[in-house]
Amino acid sequence: MSLSTLLSVRAHERGRAQRSALCCHRLLRPDPFLVCLFGLGAEPFSAAAIGWGRDERRLEVAVAGDPRERRLLFPALEELAEDFLPYFEGPFESVEEVTGPQGGNRHLEVNELPQILVPNRETLLLLGLIGRRVRYLPTDGPTPASEELIRLGAHLDFLRRHAALPGQQLVVIASDLVADHWQTSLNEWEALSLPALDAFVEPPAGVHGHDASAEADREPLGPRPDAEQDKAAAPLIKALNEGRAKSVERDVVEPLLAPLERHYRPKLERAAEISWRSLRREAGYPSARHAARREQEDREAYAWHMNMVSEGLRRRSRLTQAQAIRRVGDLERAGQRVVAQEAVDDPLRMVEVLLSEQAVLGTVTSVDPTHKVGRKSRPLVEVSLGRPTMLEQGETVHWDRLPDKDWEVAAVHPDAIELVLLNPRAKPLPEVDSIACFTTLSVEDEHFLGTPSRTPPWTHVGSSEPEQPSSIEEAEAA
């Protein structure tokens, strides 16, 4: 049994989503940069309309006209770049080179970080594909791309990749944010929809969350439109194409864009409104202890990326086998660390860990701060569990109140456990009669030691020559 199942049962019974966290496990900035999109059919590298802004009362909108024509699409992207680049690149102006603790590696650090808000994962994927499309465009030749467009592409591509890192906070995906903090009786697939989730969390008075979410989910939020939405857009695009008579000049095209903007603006505004509402709702909860600590990785990744872009270096578009293996390992370790951090930060998150027998919870029955093992000081606590545990003698565990300190299981009794503290100076100690929780999950980074052999197996050998990323734009389209 999982807590999520119990909460799904209660969400169904009570007609509202149930909170699955006591705090907010993401560090949310007060004014992130929101981007939402609407595409055309399943066109994979373009956006028919883009909405953005940092003020929930005002949404900037750019429509491409006919996004299949790159000379119409790129100006719309450049409009986005005009606001996006100063916001995203601003924090890098204060970059400093710092030395790691104990004279460790020198690396770049920034004081501030940008934060990008998108309604759902599909939006981020489409932004990433658009980024992949434009970041390597040639800046010379017959149809040179602007520097701004290329930088926008590089940043979007980076954000799409970085968002795969569990616990990252450079990108906030509103649907994930809601689904991570609330449990509904929607199934796994339905819970990907931001309108459905939002309606289940706050259904209208007297309406069950199930019915509210079904109603809210009727109209797609983007970026992929349904057949009806495209059917309405088709005659507008046709009229624009007839009106511009193949011209791509701004003074010809711009006056023709108004009907398309009228078509897309309300759709984008709906996406923006639900995204902002979701963000504000979660920001009303206290921030989890470790959310701020996780920012460090975002800082390093952001500074590294910005440095690459500012020096004109190209990032590989495909990983070598060795890189892919390391990447998967990094993501898995980050995922485990986030689970541990969220569990020690939040008793509701700890429930799943307790249910999987990776933690114990009980009443502290005795504390001996002077206890010694041999000549070493090893404070001892005894915890009454009221039930057997699967922990074994010698296992290392962590107290959720001081999770970076190590305890060792000294003895296991039928319904109690004795623990000794391995960092004797750590304070405070649990108090007698208090409820204490200890888990085997570690909030610390587990270092990847790499392959032990001098001659690594073929799976871990990188290609000798790094593959140079190239433009994916067709020559004939240029």
């Binding site: 799904s8 079904a214 057949a227 509701l348």
Partner: protein, 375 residues
């Protein structure tokens, strides 16, 4: 029996419908609709449960444009197949200087019977490697009896002979970037290709030829990157063919359905017409689900009855409503409402006991977590 295509609300069988059904073959209601030739995407149109039907015209246009490009179709029905032959030569070693390509759409138009006969003949020649056999068939029509209905299946793809085997090609317009494609679109294309291969195998078998002549490696042609330049990939689809074969074998033949009258009459009552209002049509659909059962779950999202079955699962409090994990963890418990009672401490039946104990413990830990509060 009235042929499906002539019935109100019924739809002619297509490869796409057949491939779509493969995802819902475990559902008795979907199976009955399939057997009776009713298109579930359409039967509830005009009611609150009818979803916007069809594909975005831009998506459709992109597909058509790419197919025309691959086949070098000038728009006058004459295809030269230059890009296709180049890909087959460069990637698969199909090096036939004077490839004989038979375009059945162009030759025989919409006469499906004639195209089916010609397809059989051409496949026969190809399989036997007779002199002058067609190298590529475009617009083949395969006849197969599925669920007791003999039907013509018009294929999107092409078949060609390379060395000792017949190969099947699917042309799809989703892009491959940096060697990666959208996994959902790719899975659907592979399912459709696997079904096509299976139909060719059946056709060969019916002709007394060896079905093993058909390669189970599908040739997939998709655009590479942003533009529409075609690229070719091969994918083994043996497991998918096997799944489709088992599924189609398990579908019962069209026979009078259970309880109140035949399945045909029952689905007819769901469709528009004869003064039926939306409420009556919904009641008719629900009564089919009640009588023969359905199998609501996450895989139902692509089914035309999805919203109806979802609401039915809600009214019944079915654990499947909340997804696979919830259904798995509540085995033995009849409904979500009952699970709530058990979590509060209601006495369980022996069947409910394992889930009830787990629910109680989870509820206790939840309560304790709320009491403890944030550190």
């Amino acid at each position: 029996m009235t042929p499906p295509a002539q019935r109100q609300g019924a739809a002619a069988p297509t490869v796409a419908r057949l491939a779509g059904f493969a995802n819902h073959g475990h559902c008795p209601t979907a199976s009955l609709a399939f057997v009776e030739g009713y298109d579930l995407d359409r039967v509830l149109q005009g009611t609150v449960y009818g979803d916007p039907f069809g594909q975005s015209q831009f998506m459709f246009e992109r597909g058509r444009m790419f197919e025309r490009l691959v086949k070098q179709d000038a728009g006058d029905g004459h295809c030269r197949y230059g890009p296709l032959l180049e890909l087959l030569r460069d990637r698969l070693g199909f090096d036939t200087p004077e490839a004989r390509i038979v375009n059945l759409r162009q030759e025989l138009g919409s006469d499906m019977e004639a195209r089916a006969r010609r397809t059989r003949l051409l496949l026969h020649e190809m399989a036997e490697g007779r002199e002058g056999f067609a190298n590529i068939i475009d617009g083949a029509v395969l006849q197969a009896t599925v669920a007791g209905h003999p039907a013509n299946y018009e294929t999107d793809g092409l078949a060609f002979r390379l060395g000792g085997s017949l190969r099947v090609i699917e042309v799809k317009s989703f892009a491959v970037v940096d060697g990666k494609a959208d996994p959902t679109a790719l899975a659907a294309a592979l399912d459709q290709g696997a079904l096509y291969i299976h139909l060719v195998q059946l056709a060969l078998e019916a002709e007394g030829l060896d079905p093993g002549l058909v390669s189970e490696d599908l040739v997939l042609i998709t655009p590479r990157n942003v533009g529409l330049s075609p690229t070719l990939h091969e994918h083994g689809v043996t497991a998918r063919i096997e799944r489709i074969r088992r599924l189609l074998e398990a579908v019962p033949n069209a026979t009078p359905g259970p309880s109140n009258g035949s399945g045909t009459a029952r689905f007819a009552a769901v469709t528009r017409g004869h003064g039926r209002n939306a409420e009556q049509r919904i009641d008719a659909a629900l009564s089919i689900c009640d009588d023969i059962g359905n199998a609501y779950g996450p895989a139902c999202q692509g089914c035309g009855l999805y919203r109806l079955c979802r609401d039915r699962a809600f009214r019944l409090g079915s654990p499947e409503l909340a997804g696979e994990r919830v259904a798995r963890e509540l085995v033995g418990v009849a409904s979500l409402d009952r699970a709530a009672e058990l979590a509060r401490g209601d006495l369980p039946t022996p069947m409910e006991a394992p889930a009830a104990a787990a629910l109680r413990r989870t509820a206790d830990l939840h309560e304790e977590a709320l009491t403890r509060g944030l550190p």
